[in-house]
């Protein structure tokens, strides 16, 4: 192993040879016997490792249990919201429930008017055609 290769491994895997890939670790040991510079590089990397070890993330059992509980609660809440019969189409609007609802309402409207359940107003009888509304980009005219 050359000193350049050694430096690359030190930068990658740090100052603990046990964390290096096995063959490289053995070659590094030979180089360390011969090179003062290699020993210095390894010592510097070990010092950095010691500092990095101060920032090892620690996760308590309580944190794990808390997260488990919250995940379960969120999944349960989503499941009960999906199962609510009064929700026609949860966001984002799903197509088929909405389309079915509109089709049924249209059919009911048609049946109600065609069977005469509701009186149909005659617009001409009410004199509404006399009111002409023109709505254009130049303004509104009556």
């Amino acid at each position: 192993m050359t000193l350049k290769e050694f430096k690359r491994y030190v930068d990658l895997h740090g100052g603990d040879l046990d964390r290096w890939p096995a063959p490289a670790g053995v070659e590094a040991t030979i180089l360390l016997d011969e090179s003062e510079e290699a020993r210095t590089l390894l010592a510097e990397a070990a010092a950095l490792d010691a500092l990095l070890d101060r920032a090892v993330p620690r996760v308590s059992d309580a944190a794990v249990e808390r997260a488990m509980g919250r995940i379960a609660a969120r999944i349960d809440a989503a499941a009960s919201a999906d199962a609510s019969p009064w929700r026609l189409a949860p966001a984002p609007l799903s197509f088929w429930p909405t389309a079915s609802f509109l089709a049924v309402m249209g059919l009911v409207g048609f049946l109600v008017t065609s069977t005469g359940l509701l009186p149909v107003q005659d617009a001409y009888a009410a004199g509404l055609p006399d009111i002409l509304v023109m709505n254009g980009y130049l303004g509104v005219a009556q």
Binding site: L12, A47, L48, L51, L52, P57, R70, I75
Partner: protein, 190 residues
């Protein structure tokens, strides 16, 4: 339940895709601690990491049917979701790690040493927090989670050489930021 405990991740995930909550619970419990630890290094603190991981696991449950494997292990897929969520979260929020390091002075003899230790720890956290997000993720995976560069590269979806380059740059940048601390520490040693 005992059978589920013994099942591998991919078998459990197939059960989860079929709507099996018990399988999901086993899978979540198996990976939760490591996921939180991984996210913690990216977002910078424990409570945000918990939130990120909760989102990730809810996503796994909701989109379990999208899990195909495609030659990747479940853990690769999961950690990819966790890391991406952590990176997004971090982008949306600002982070001041040194605020947590404020200490009240204590006159007892060991207190000065303790404060010094905590300040050093906070300096390391700050140096890591100042890294670009992908370098921070590389350090989290390879150094703190002890993954090989090949494993980590699958999670970050980069080549192995790109992964190595991220890791090398991360270590160099942290070292340059902590040079004063390292020299001080060397000076302390007899």
């Amino acid at each position: 339940m005992a059978l589920l405990d013994e099942a591998d991740d991919e078998t459990l995930m197939a059960e989860v895709a079929a709507g099996d909550r018990a399988a999901f619970d086993v899978l979540a419990r198996r990976h939760l601690r490591r996921s939180i630890a991984m996210a913690q290094k990216v977002v910078g603190n424990a409570s945000d990491a918990e939130e990120v991981v909760q989102d990730a696991f809810v996503q796994v449950w909701t989109h379990a049917d999208r899990w195909r494997g495609d030659g990747f292990r479940f853990s690769t897929w999961l950690y990819r979701i966790v890391l991406n969520r952590a990176i997004d979260y971090r982008r949306r929020r600002s982070f001041q790690p040194l605020d947590e390091a404020v200490e009240l002075p204590d006159p007892s003899p060991g207190a000065e040493r303790l404060i010094e230790e905590r300040q050093m720890g906070a300096a390391v956290e700050a140096a890591i927090a100042a890294l670009p997000e992908r370098q921070r993720a590389a350090l989290s995976l390879c150094y703190y989670q002890d993954m090989s560069c090949a494993e980590a590269s699958e999670i970050l979806q980069v080549s192995v050489s790109a992964m190595e380059s991220l890791l090398v740059r991360a270590r160099r940048m942290v070292r340059s930021k902590l040079n004063t601390v390292i020299r001080q520490k060397d000076g302390d040693q007899p």
